[in-house]
């Protein structure tokens, strides 16, 4: 089911594939190591702290602040039709980061490093296949 993740997916097979099912149901999940308890976002099958190989999914809030951003004009394959689009990188309150598009609730003129943003699951219904990802939305405008 990880093939659902992203507009273009290059890595459909992964031990954290259930992430996409959770995302489809509106939940943003991190991994928690069963040995040391370390929480990682994006989730990892193998703990980044101790390299233990067993984990469980745990929900995270998706609250974060903008670390940096860029508006991409020269787009790669699969994104030519949707350029320009704006990528934001957020530092998450519970640790880790997310890279995603800045969502419709955040006008580009309002972008400022340090501003609060909400990582918000998104289900694309405008394409035939199931597509899930997340966007960075204004905490007020977030729908999750």
């Amino acid at each position: 089911m990880f093939k659902w993740f992203g507009r273009v997916n290059h890595a459909p097979h992964t031990k954290v594939a259930e992430f996409a099912q959770h995302l489809r149901e509106g939940r943003l999940m991190a991994s928690r190591c069963e040995a040391c308890g370390h929480v990682s976002f994006p989730p990892r099958a193998d703990c980044e702290a101790c390299l233990h190989g067993a984990f469980t999914f745990v929900p995270v809030s998706g609250r974060g602040t903008l670390h940096t951003w860029t508006r991409i004009t020269a787009a790669p394959r699969g994104f030519e039709d949707v350029a320009p689009y704006t990528l934001g990188l957020v530092d998450l309150e519970e640790g880790g980061r997310a890279l995603a598009w800045i969502g419709a609730s955040v006008p580009e003129s309002s972008l400022a490093i340090g501003m609060p943003l909400q990582v918000t699951p998104r289900l694309h219904e405008d394409v035939e296949d199931i597509r899930v990802d997340y966007t960075l939305e204004s905490p007020k405008g977030a729908t999750a």
């Binding site: 940096t68 951003w69 860029t70 004009t73 990528l87 990802d133």
Partner: protein, 386 residues
């Protein structure tokens, strides 16, 4: 082998669109020039290490083809890949093989023919430069990553758009004076700022260009390195380190941890500090990358890279002249050839052979070759005998 490893020959093709040659023909141009420069002949080569990024060629398994074309079979050959740092990775591999006492004389050929790919293939490759599971799925691009570094550096340290442009202006100023460079024209701020957006805050003129080309260095163990056509230039400090592939796990976006670590190793091995470096070739794949390099290599303090270029301190006559061959920006960036090209430039400078681009009293030089967005970095400190 506890002795030093010297560079005894260099060769370099013109960089640019080379519709006249295959990649092995480019390799032959650089290798033949390096042989002539050294006074050795090809029978003296114990091995050939090729630095290249295979996905940019139609030809797969390049070292086999190059070795055959150069008539060097059955001598050993292999490929070294570390993205845009493949050339310096190949030099490090050759250096290690000599230090280990396995080989005495090794040729390193960095070569790349990027313009043979179709636009569609390039677009597809562009879409997989980042970490593909969590980043490429959102349409991240190579300029996009460095653009995010730039915006964060501007935010933390007040680096300006004008300072980034000043890097491009400097590198084109020197590219105009390098007969091997792809772009041999000076540029103005007006022209740079009028170029198309790529990934804000970058325009086209913040980015280096894909190119074709090859460069070659011949390395020899210390006793062998002496008494050849030209005095050897020594690989006195060799640093190599890594940082995360993913910006999601990268501790800092305002410097490359790999470059800082590699520089510390190279300075320690050579017994010099940053102030002792008289000339440097650094990895300016994007304008901000050169600013980060000033700081990561210790040419200025953290956060002062913007002022460093604004005050012309990286021009000849400044405290540390940087990329006086035009850098990737004006010379072009045939990925696998780039690191080897950097080393050839510093050898020229240390020999006093750089012509109108010669840095006075250049006796200690440095190269800084970065792979990807900093997941690999190789730093060399080069010296000559007095």
């Amino acid at each position: 082998m506890s002795g030093r490893v010297g560079i005894v020959g260099i060769g370099h093709t013109p960089f640019g669109r080379r519709s006249d040659a295959t990649v092995q023909e480019l390799a032959a141009e650089a290798f033949r020039a390096a042989l002539a420069d050294s006074g050795l002949d090809r029978g003296h080569m114990d091995a050939v290490v090729v630095g290249s990024v295979p996905e940019y060629h139609k030809q797969r398994s390049l070292p086999g083809v190059v070795q055959e074309y150069l008539g060097l079979t059955p001598k050993p050959t292999w490929l070294t890949e570390a993205a845009c740092a493949s050339g310096s990775a190949a030099i490090r591999t050759a250096w290690m093989s000599i230090k280990a006492g396995v080989h005495d004389v090794v040729a390193v050929i960095g070569c790349q023919k990027m313009t043979e790919l179709e636009t569609a293939e390039i677009l597809a490759l562009m879409g997989r430069v980042g970490e593909v599971q969590w980043e490429s799925s959102f349409g991240s691009t190579f300029p996009g990553y460095y653009a995010m570094f730039a915006r964060r550096h501007m935010h933390e340290y007040g680096t300006t758009r004008e300072q980034l442009t000043a890097v491009a202006i400097k590198n084109h100023f020197y590219g105009a004076r390098n007969p091997l460079a792809m772009f041999r024209k000076e540029i103005t701020a007006e022209k740079a700022n009028a170029s198309e957006d790529v990934a804000t805050p970058f325009h086209v003129f913040d980015c280096c260009a894909n190119a074709d080309g090859a460069a070659c260095v011949i390395l020899a163990a210390e006793p062998r390195a002496r008494g050849l056509r030209k005095p050897p230039v020594w690989l006195s400090g060799m640093g190599c380190a890594s940082d995360t592939m993913s910006v999601l796990r990268r501790p800092s976006l305002t410097g490359l941890g790999s470059a800082q670590a590699a520089a510390a190793q190279a300075y320690a091995m050579a017994g010099v500090d940053a102030k002792r470096v008289r000339v440097a070739d650094v990895h300016d794949c994007f304008t901000i990358a050169e600013v980060l390099a000033y700081e990561d290599l210790g040419f200025c303090a953290k956060g002062e890279g913007g002022a460093f270029i604004a005050e012309n301190r990286s021009y000849i006559g400044g405290s540390t002249p940087v990329n006086v061959d035009g850098g990737l920006k004006a010379k072009g960036h045939p990925i696998g050839a780039t690191g080897v090209s950097m080393t050839t430039e510093i050898v020229k400078q240390l020999r006093g052979d750089a012509g109108e681009r010669q840095v006075p009293d250049a006796d200690v030089g440095l190269t800084h070759n970065v792979g990807g967005i900093g997941q690999y970095c190789f730093v060399q400190v080069l010296t000559r005998d007095e």
